[in-house]
């Protein structure tokens, strides 16, 4: 059984022209609520950045970022996340224009693979650092580094689980209005994580690699 099919939500790219006013108000408030969550999440990240900034240079004789950060891994992680944001754009466009379900599945799958490879690279980076003896308890700097970057990695992992859940929802309900709104929320979440990563690669990696 495919769930709610009428009044069709035509513009899931967050612009809702042509949607009946009642449905439209509901969808707008759903999406706005998720924006409020994202902004509270942004506050958490902002304060983690603040702590990180006050801890720059506090190595306590432990490893420095210049020794621990790898330029190419930061670069490829960035490339993966940026590309995954772009491919999620494919999901949004496919939903907006009522494309065949295989397009939505395809773009979600590509986004998932890119995100999963990002998490894998980050795990590899962390285990290498642990192996080199750079652990959170070494210095205030490393504590704040691991909290900030791992928090982002945790969010990305949640996004990946969410994509799997969307696959299950699509299999059960088809693409009805609720599923579409969930895809919009997931898209906001994913693009938001990309913004956080832009701040991380600038303030953490590029700044750290300068020293």
């Amino acid at each position: 059984m495919s769930g709610v099919s009428e009044p069709e939500l035509r513009h899931v790219g967050l612009t809702l022209e042509g949607v009946p006013p009642l449905k439209r108000a509901q969808v707008e408030s759903d999406v706005f609520g998720f924006w409020a969550f994202l902004m509270s999440d942004a506050l958490i990240f902002a304060l983690l950045f603040a702590i990180y900034a006050t801890m720059i240079g506090r190595y306590a004789g432990g490893p420095t970022p210049g020794q621990e950060f790898k330029f190419h891994s930061a670069f490829w992680e960035t490339a993966l996340l940026l590309t995954s944001s772009f491919t999620y754009g494919g999901v949004s466009i496919a939903l907006k224009h009522d494309a065949k379900r295989r397009w939505i599945v395809l773009f979600t799958a590509i986004t998932f693979c890119l995100g999963a490879y990002f998490v894998r690279m980050e795990c590899h980076e962390f285990t290498t650092m642990f192996h080199d003896g750079a652990t959170p308890e070494d210095s205030g700097y490393l504590s704040s580094f691991f909290v900030l970057v791992a928090m982002h990695g945790f969010h990305v992992t949640c996004g990946l689980i969410w994509m799997l859940l969307m696959g299950a929802q699509m299999a059960i309900h088809g693409i009805d209005q609720r599923v579409k709104v969930n895809f919009v929320r997931l898209g906001l979440f994913w693009h938001f994580l990309d913004i956080v990563w832009v701040c991380i690669f600038t303030i953490v990696y590029l700044h750290g690699l300068q020293r």
Binding site: F32, M39, S92, H191, I195
Partner: protein, 103 residues
Amino acid sequence: MTLSSSVRRDLAAYGIGYALAIALTGISFAIVFFRLLEPRPAFVIILILALVQVTVHLRCFLHVSFKRPAREDLHLVMFSAIVILLMLGGTFIILFDLDTRMM
């Protein structure tokens, strides 16, 4: 598969966003990788580039704009930005002041 003009327009919006994001990221990484500038001015420039890139992401990927349904989102983002700036500023003033006093 033939693409209608509205699909092509949406694709172009994401494509422009992606191209800008890649370009801004590339410039930032190039500045640091090739050590094109002294560390301090280089950091100021990559911070500005990051700010521009965040704006590009908000506009092209998150569709925040001055148009009607997106305007509430814009208000929320701006309000949150003010709160974040206050909290960051307060944290920095207090902690760096403490830092200089402890030295």
